[in-house]
């Protein structure tokens, strides 16, 4: 009898970082987007590692990354100007088009969801008709996620190998993404293990 090695399942420690991306990390990326603020203080130009900002002059609008804008707003050092797409008529048009079409409409910002959430949370006093905007964006999001669920379902059923998803934003992809890719992985493992003569290459789970 030969010394066949044990196929011992090696104890897998909890990985330090979860696979895929959680919403907080998608928000982290969105926070790099530039937004317009009107500061109420003055400060000369600052030289961040990621680029230069300023100078800050009271009353003069300027662009800063969202993470800084939110922080300054919380310290009551500025007023936020909503992006030009954050307007009831424009959002109504987008929502209607999304409901009409089967495909995904291009969104005015790749981070529309995160921008809406952060700006409405921290600066709703600077945004006219904030509640209506919140509802409109949520409706559009719901429609898009429903469409995404349908196309993910047909992707899995028809065993497609490729899909093009141009007008989807990162937050939408991340919401269904991890579940979808793990489901596809499981399906793949189930299907390939049905093939006869599969050598003893253990795949886990």
């Amino acid at each position: 009898m030969g010394g066949a090695p044990w196929a011992v399942p090696v104890p897998v420690p909890i990985p330090p970082a979860a696979p895929g991306m959680d919403p907080a990390e998608a928000e982290f990326l969105a926070e790099k987007e530039l937004v317009t603020i009107v500061p109420n203080f003055s400060l000369d130009r600052i030289y961040l590692i990621g680029g230069d900002l300023g100078p800050f002059n009271p009353g003069l609008p300027m662009e800063v990354p969202l993470w800084l804008a939110i922080n300054l707003k919380q310290r009551q050092k500025c007023r936020l100007i909503p992006p030009e797409w954050m307007d009831v008529e424009k959002l109504e048009a987008i929502r209607d088009q999304e409901r009409k079409e089967d495909t995904f409409t291009p969104m005015p910002s790749p981070y529309y969801m995160e921008l809406t959430k952060l700006l409405l949370n921290y600066a709703s006093d600077n945004i006219p008709r904030a509640d209506e905007i919140r509802t409109l964006v949520k409706d559009t999001w719901d429609t898009r996620i429903a469409k995404l669920r349908l196309s993910a379902d047909s992707f899995v059923r028809q065993q497609e190998a490729h899909a093009k998803l141009d007008n989807l934003t990162l937050m939408e992809i991340n919401t269904t993404g991890t579940f979808l890719t793990q489901a596809l992985d499981h399906m793949y493992k189930l299907r390939t293990s049905l093939q006869p003569g599969e050598s003893a290459q253990s795949q886990d789970f």
């Binding site: 895929g20 590692i49 993470w67 990162l170 793949y188 390939t192």
Partner: protein
């Protein structure tokens, strides 16, 4: 007296960073760290080690920290710089943690790949990661031995870790965004009835596809995993 600038002049950065062939501005450096972070997060296997990027980013952070220590008062400016430092630090730690997680998960395969790579090929482990992986493997082996194996009959005391530990699944699906246009990328369907076909990847488009066929594009930076 003119107030000394409390941040490094971006233009004067060129000579730092040692082995970089390309001279990157700090902003580009941070951008490439973020790209490496996202790729590592979504790729099923351990990717090439971006040790130079990590090193340069750490240098930038240390430089900025030491500048900030020198400046007294000026709360707002210092606060803003510190916030940026924290953000960059988060990306860096998350990137390194992600890699360590994969090293722990796939350690025999990672070491095997590193051992068998050709001299010209880029390394997938930094020197510190390599030492970590070897130590992890040695610890696991001695753990298994002392807890279970030495109590087994003599002819059953071997464990082949390469077989026992699951490989990364290169056939998993990933989402990607195209940075450089690619033509004729092969799509391999898994059912035998479907034939393979090729697609073109337009710049700026987003796709869902199996990792295996586009792995070289991730390594070359032509696509970005999302």
């Amino acid at each position: 007296m003119a107030e000394s600038r409390d941040s490094p002049d971006p233009a004067g950065h060129d000579s730092d960073g040692g082995s970089e062939e390309l001279v990157l501005t700090p902003a580009q450096l941070i951008r490439s760290l973020e790209q490496a972070w996202l790729n590592e997060k979504f790729a099923p296997e351990l990717l090439e080690s971006k040790a130079e990027v990590v090193e340069c980013v750490m240098e930038q952070l240390e430089h900025m920290e030491s500048n900030l220590k020198r400046v007294k008062g000026v709360d707002l400016k210092v606060g803003i710089h510190r916030m940026e430092i924290e953000r960059i630090r988060y990306v860096l730690s998350s990137y390194l943690r992600c890699r360590l997680g994969k090293i722990e998960k796939f350690f025999p395969h990672v070491l095997e790949k590193e051992k068998s790579r050709a001299d010209g090929d880029p390394s997938i482990l930094s020197p510190e990661e390599f030492a970590f992986a070897k130590e992890y493997m040695a610890n696991t082996e001695s753990y298994l031995k002392s807890v279970a194996l030495k109590h087994m009959p003599p002819n059953l005391q071997k464990v082949d870790l390469l077989q026992a530990v699951p490989r990364p699944n290169l056939d998993s699906f990933v989402f990607l965004r195209v940075l450089e246009r690619q033509e004729n990328v092969l799509v391999e369907p898994e059912a035998d009835e479907q034939r393979e076909y090729t697609i073109d990847l337009e710049e700026g488009s987003q796709h869902l596809i199996r990792y295996k066929t586009i792995a070289p594009l991730v390594a070359s930076g032509a696509v970005q995993l999302i």
